[in-house]
Symmetry: C2
């Protein structure tokens, strides 16, 4: 019984890593679509979100099945409940990547992001892709140093997000309202991405160490 | 044992209703703060979000405790897992109300929403408050007609959200970029509110009828 249960727990872990890998691709693709006005990549990210959603539903069903069949307690129970929550978070990260890709597609063949704001968004896209990679590795290795790196990259995203507002609200801004709207929305999507990654990092820290760090509000 | 368990399940239901009532107040307050540039109400909504967060954590702990102690199966298990998810959704609705209040506070004593966009936002605030009220009643009564009403009000929010873009991107728009940014963000927060309410409505429908209606993607 315990052997079956451990196999099932491992499968949950593998499913989370698989979801995280797809999210990682989606985020990298969304950044590319946005910065290069790359329609094909935008379409791939948008179409690929269904796969993340399907994995999310399958993983949730697996967790509920384990709860019903194995009635786990203590740490095992925490692992399964955390998996339910991290699965929801990864699914949401996939949505956000899709939203970024949708903005890129909506403006094609133009660039959604005006040249003056491109460096800031290049930085945000890079930091978002970086946290996505770190989340995948963290879910595989539970290496807690990575959890710290994720929080640092979330700070990078927050700072760059503040810069996007400085750009569109500064005296040198001469873009259209549509451009300001796109920058506002895409900036928000990418910044939320860091919040979600941080939430996963904290759940892993909790699973490994038992420490809850509510930390500053990340929302 | 079964009696204790049923009392615990009832307590979960009561906790969800209590959270929903606080969210309802927060949303109504956020709308008032926004439309009337009412600083005091904005502060109340912002400060009150801690209480929603605390209820969220307590409810989650209660759910995990029940899973550990009672090892529920079948419908009982679905009720507990759904409660975990709805608690997370209500917590997020509280965050969104706080974000709206933060925008109102940030612009005080000015109005965040320019006069030309006020009617649209008055409609959004009303629809958001209405879905919040409906969520509270739905959680108490499980009256499935209300689930349908919530989805209708979500459509109202989506349509009004589209109008906000039509306003700021239309030829008559003469607002500042800051006003366009605020309208973009607050419109997004209020629209997300409807998505979350719809997600709760579908979970309740599933618990009552067993029917999963994935429906159109609401995110």
């Amino acid at each position: 019984m315990r052997q079956i249960f451990e196999a099932e727990l491992r499968q949950i872990g593998d499913d989370l890593v698989e979801m995280a890998q797809l999210v990682e691709q989606a985020v990298a693709g969304a950044g590319k679509a946005l910065l290069e006005a790359d329609l094909q990549t935008a379409q791939q990210v948008i179409a690929g979100d269904h796969e993340i959603d399907a994995l999310h539903r399958a993983l949730d069903e697996r967790c509920v099945h384990i709860l019903a069949q194995q009635a786990p307690v203590a740490t095992d129970l925490r692992v399964v409940v955390s998996a339910l929550r991290m699965s929801a978070t990864l699914e949401r990260m996939g949505d956000l990547a899709r939203h970024v890709a949708e903005v890129a597609r909506g403006r094609y063949p133009a660039h959604a992001i005006r040249a003056t704001a491109q460096p800031t968004f290049a930085g945000m896209a890079e930091a978002a892709a970086e946290v996505a990679r770190e989340v995948t590795v963290l879910l595989s290795t539970r290496d807690l140093e990575l959890a710290g790196e994720i929080e640092k990259n979330d700070d990078v995203l927050d700072n760059l997000h503040a810069q996007t507002f400085a750009t569109i609200l500064g005296p040198e801004w001469d873009g259209t309202t549509q451009e300001a709207v796109d920058i506002t929305l895409v900036g928000r999507y990418l910044e939320r991405f860091g919040d979600h990654a941080t939430s996963i990092a904290r759940r892993i820290v909790f699973l490994v160490t038992g420490d809850v760090d509510e930390g500053p509000t990340h929302d």
